[in-house]
Symmetry: C2
Subunit: 155 residues, 2 copies
């Protein structure tokens, strides 16, 4: 799905749920769909202010909550850090997170099939499974290299 189609999908979903499409919301949706990083509310606010300088952070949070409600953004929460948002790929999928530079990448689901495993869990636990989350933590190639270089310099 290309970016424009994705934006239209989100807009329709909002409208159908009875929400208004304001310029600020429109802009936020576009920003969300453009970014393949996984921005925080603050980062989204910074970008939004470039187009609407008076926009408040509260509006960003309110809009994000609305988008969560209609299922068009996924929120990824971490302890001691702010939450990250992903609208380009609202369906559950695993993330690869660099513990050094905080970069968050999507993992190609082709590589990993958690769904079949999740079903097994449902059967044995009696839970009705709604979604899942999988994060893999590590050092990205860039940070590995930087650490190797700084170690070499120190010795």
């Amino acid at each position: 799905m290309d970016e424009e189609t994705r934006v239209n999908t989100v807009v329709s979903r909002l409208r159908d749920a009875g929400y208004r499409i304001t310029p600020q919301r429109m802009a936020l949706i576009e920003i969300l769909c453009q970014s393949d990083r996984h921005p925080s509310a603050g980062q989204l606010h910074e970008q939004l202010k470039q187009r609407f300088p008076t926009t408040s952070l509260a509006t960003v949070y309110k809009t994000l909550n609305v988008l969560k409600e209609v299922g068009e953004v996924m929120e990824i929460g971490f302890a001691g850090s702010d939450a990250r948002y992903d609208s380009a790929h609202p369906d559950p999928h695993p993330h690869l997170i660099c513990v050094q530079c905080r970069r968050i990448e999507d993992i190609d689901v082709q590589q990993l099939k958690p769904e079949s495993q999740v079903e097994k869990i449902a059967e044995r636990s009696g839970y009705r499974i709604l979604s899942y989350r999988m994060d893999v933590y590590g050092l990205c190639p860039r940070c590995q290299q930087e650490m190797a270089e700084s170690q070499a310099a120190a010795s």
Copy 2:
């Protein structure tokens, strides 16, 4: 590993890292190892105050950070909510989380083998994988039943 052994392991790890074993820390470690729930800092503080009424929440956080540092507690963070801690099972393992009552259960790793999948990710991404996290969200049997009953009453 039984609870007493686990407590001793944590205590040794702290001592070896040069940290002191104070009565408050001892008590917190015991509380952590006893609970199979996944308590928050506030809940731990409540329990700790039963034995040491003057204990402050700051001390709980400081001790938890020390324990994280030596790798003897795992912190599980959520957006918009407080972090939960798990010392009984510090190795990475999946969690089953009820979105209604916030209960967090451990998933028997026998049911699920994320490690093999995680290795595949390492190969293809160039990341050095350090750990992973997997959460499955759903409704626990109890909450399913409660929802069914309240719906029946409403109709």
